[in-house]
């Protein structure tokens, strides 16, 4: 028995050393090496995520939207507490990336040198990660529609997660998302976060991707105390009395002008700095507060942390040139829900608008034919209206995009199709325009988004 244990320890250390050496070699080549070391370690020791020594506490952050930001904010806050934090915030969120992070947090003799791990996890990796990792806390920000080809639908992702969540893990869940808030088993300790009704909320849902519509108890149509987007909001069943869970951690009285909000922390109200006024980041802030409270960080220090924490703001940029606002928005193609949020944001601009739209995915362009079904999961309807003077659509799937816009109610006379993605920047009519939008996807950000932005900027400068 002792010999077997010794063999296992040697095998574990071999995997740790191999991963560490691989990391050193990869970094010497100028790359980050956040995935391959873990991949090697998992080949040598498939159970390494469970076998390697963990920090005293392990927090996993998952969900469709916000997991990267929340992982970053949590890591920053805990570092601010003087803790040694193991985090995969600059690397892979798959099983291999998590293995890399855990191995990076132990010494060459396998001893943990971190106080806490904050691990962002891709939802689909749950089965490979959670049963061995046995996290103390798992945060799920939300589960909304993602890639049709990869993620199918939110209930599928919820099933994957629930199948893998250990019974002992404390769940920190979004009470405004009935799919995410239903994760886990009855045995899991759980706490909920939410954002109270906002002035922009509505009383009933609309749009293509509403995944909560019927009561899980009696199938009757649900009603909404407030509806925010997709299936996010607070539901109840008028027939049987079912209600979404009440949250102990809530954001309320959001005041954008003063940059403040009130955080309800399990019965105690605290005024805090609003880290960002987008709804997604309000959820991120209250979720971070809930986790820090669960980790027994003093509440004064939780609130104080928000004074200097800031989410990354890489998804949009606004510059004013003359009298015109030039707005660049990363609009993640293949994910209808993400596009809906970009379109909704754009619709909030009250001036006369022109859009250069290039949101096909390069990744599907060369050896594939992009499955454009995702465009019908996106609410292009936000773009319809008199304030839209013109939309110029470029790229391989431009006619699909034009058709989608027309079906959404955009006047076909205001839709211009051009073969080249970049040429839209020259073809868009800027006369009388207050806001010009450059919408591009992830993989064409550099080849399309950047040159379009440059050309639009030049044209606007010339008109000053």
């Amino acid at each position: 028995m002792r010999q077997l244990r010794l063999l296992l320890t040697l095998r574990l250390l071999t995997a740790v050393w191999a991963a560490k050496l691989a990391g050193v070699a990869i970094r010497a080549l100028g790359r980050q090496g956040t995935h391959t070391p873990g991949l090697i370690a998992r080949k040598l020791y498939p159970g390494i995520i469970g076998a390697v020594q963990h920090p005293a506490q392990v927090v996993v952050v998952t969900g469709t939207n916000g997991k990267t930001t929340v992982s970053n904010l949590l890591t920053e806050a805990l570092l601010g507490e003087g803790l040694r934090v193991a985090s995969n915030r600059i690397g892979s969120n798959l099983a291999a990336g998590i293995a890399t992070t855990l191995i990076g947090a132990v010494t060459w003799t396998g001893k943990s040198r971190a106080d806490i791990a904050v691990l962002e996890m891709d939802e689909r990796s749950a089965k490979l990660v959670l049963p061995d990792l046995l996290p103390d806390v798992l945060v799920c920000m939300n589960l909304t529609r993602d890639s049709i080809k990869r993620n199918a639908h939110p209930a599928y992702i919820a099933w994957i997660l629930s199948s893998a969540i250990p019974a002992s893990t404390t769940l920190v869940l979004n009470a405004d998302d009935l799919i995410a808030s239903s994760l886990g088993a009855e045995s899991n300790p759980r706490l909920y976060f939410s954002v109270d009704r906002l002035p922009t909320d509505e009383n009933s849902p609309r749009g293509a991707a509403v995944d909560v519509a019927i009561c899980p108890v009696c199938d009757h149509a649900l009603d909404w105390d407030y509806w925010r987007f997709n299936h996010i909001g607070k539901v109840y069943c008028p027939a049987c009395g079912f209600r979404a869970p009440d949250a102990g951690y809530r954001a309320r009285d959001v005041d954008v002008a003063s940059g403040r909000l009130t955080l309800e922390l399990d019965g105690e109200s605290r005024s805090a700095h609003l880290i960002n006024d987008s709804i997604v980041n309000i959820y991120n802030e209250v979720a971070v507060a809930a986790v820090l409270d669960r980790l027994a960080i003093p509440r004064d220090r939780i609130v104080a942390a928000f004074e200097h924490l800031a989410p990354p703001t890489t998804r949009f940029a606004l510059e004013v040139i003359g009298a015109v606002e030039l707005v660049r928005i990363l609009t993640k193609g293949l994910v209808g829900v993400a596009c809906s949020r970009a379109f909704e944001y754009l619709s909030g601009f009250v001036g006369r608008k022109a859009i250069v739209l290039n949101i096909d995915e390069v990744s599907e362009r060369v050896t594939e034919v992009e499955n454009t079904a995702w465009t019908y999961d996106a609410d292009y309807e936000y773009l319809a209206g008199d304030s839209l003077a013109q939309v110029v659509v470029g790229g391989v799937r431009r006619y699909d995009q034009a058709l989608r816009l027309a079906i959404a109610g955009v006047d076909p006379a205001r839709i211009l199709t051009v073969e080249s993605e970049v040429a839209g920047a020259d073809r868009v009519d800027l006369d009388g325009i207050d806001d010009v939008f450059n919408l591009h996807s992830v993989h064409n950000a550099v080849i399309t988004g950047t040159p379009v932005q440059k050309r639009l900027r030049e044209r606007l400068e010339e008109r000053k």
Binding site: I148, K149, R150, A152, H153, A155, Y156, W159, A208, A209, V210, A213, I214, D219, H220, A221, G336, T367, E368, V369, N371, T372, A373, W374, T375, Y376, D377, A378, V396, R397, Y399, D400, A402, L403, A406, I407, P412, I415, T417
Partner: protein, 260 residues
Amino acid sequence: MSRVLTIEMLFPEVANLHGDNFNITYLGQCRPDARIVRTRLTETPAFVTGAVDLVYLGPLTEHGQLKAIERLLPHKDRIEALIEAGTTFLFTHNALEVLGARIRNDEMDYDVAGVGVFELESTLRMFGRYNGKVMGTVPTVDAAHPVLGYKSQFSMVTAPESLPGFLTADRGIGRNTTTAVEGVRRGNFIGTSLIGPLLVVNPHFTRALLAQLDPDSEPTLAHESFALNAYEARLADFHDNRRWHPFERVQHESKQPNHP
């Protein structure tokens, strides 16, 4: 002289995945005079008590499939009678499986009987989602304009060869990886796993469907030029051999591929 078409969407609150309900949105824009009835899970379908020109059911979650079976099972005889009488049905993606004999899902631990209108059996592999393209001709449209569509599904379907398909795939797979026969066509019933949405990405097929629904009026396509241009661009891509992966071919039983 056109007449008012009645289109019934079954359970749109749960049968709404993959943007496929835009099949009916688009059809409604082609026929703005159409009456679209949206029947909730807890309501009795309109086709049970009255005349409906088209009955539509779209993609469901796995749980949603079971709910739809539960709600449609009491109306099995009526569905069969309507199919026999020539009523048009369009069931897309996994909605067709609801009318089959059996749905088996080992990973989610159930094996249930379907409504039983067709001799179909569906097997779901929750960690083996199939993604691919399909191109094939249908009898209602000339061969120069094949139906194009996409598969993105957990299920593979088996059925007797005697059950006619919606189409036979020239490229891509059919009901499963070993056959080119895709979906089901019986009378004016069409069941297909193809998404796109089907009626949006196939204007020639949609025109034929409109003519079938109302033979006395000239079918008109909404946003016709965009629709036709999008179809032609997609057709050119589908004819490009470089864009077809090996797993998108019909396989011999003995060497089925692992789906990416």
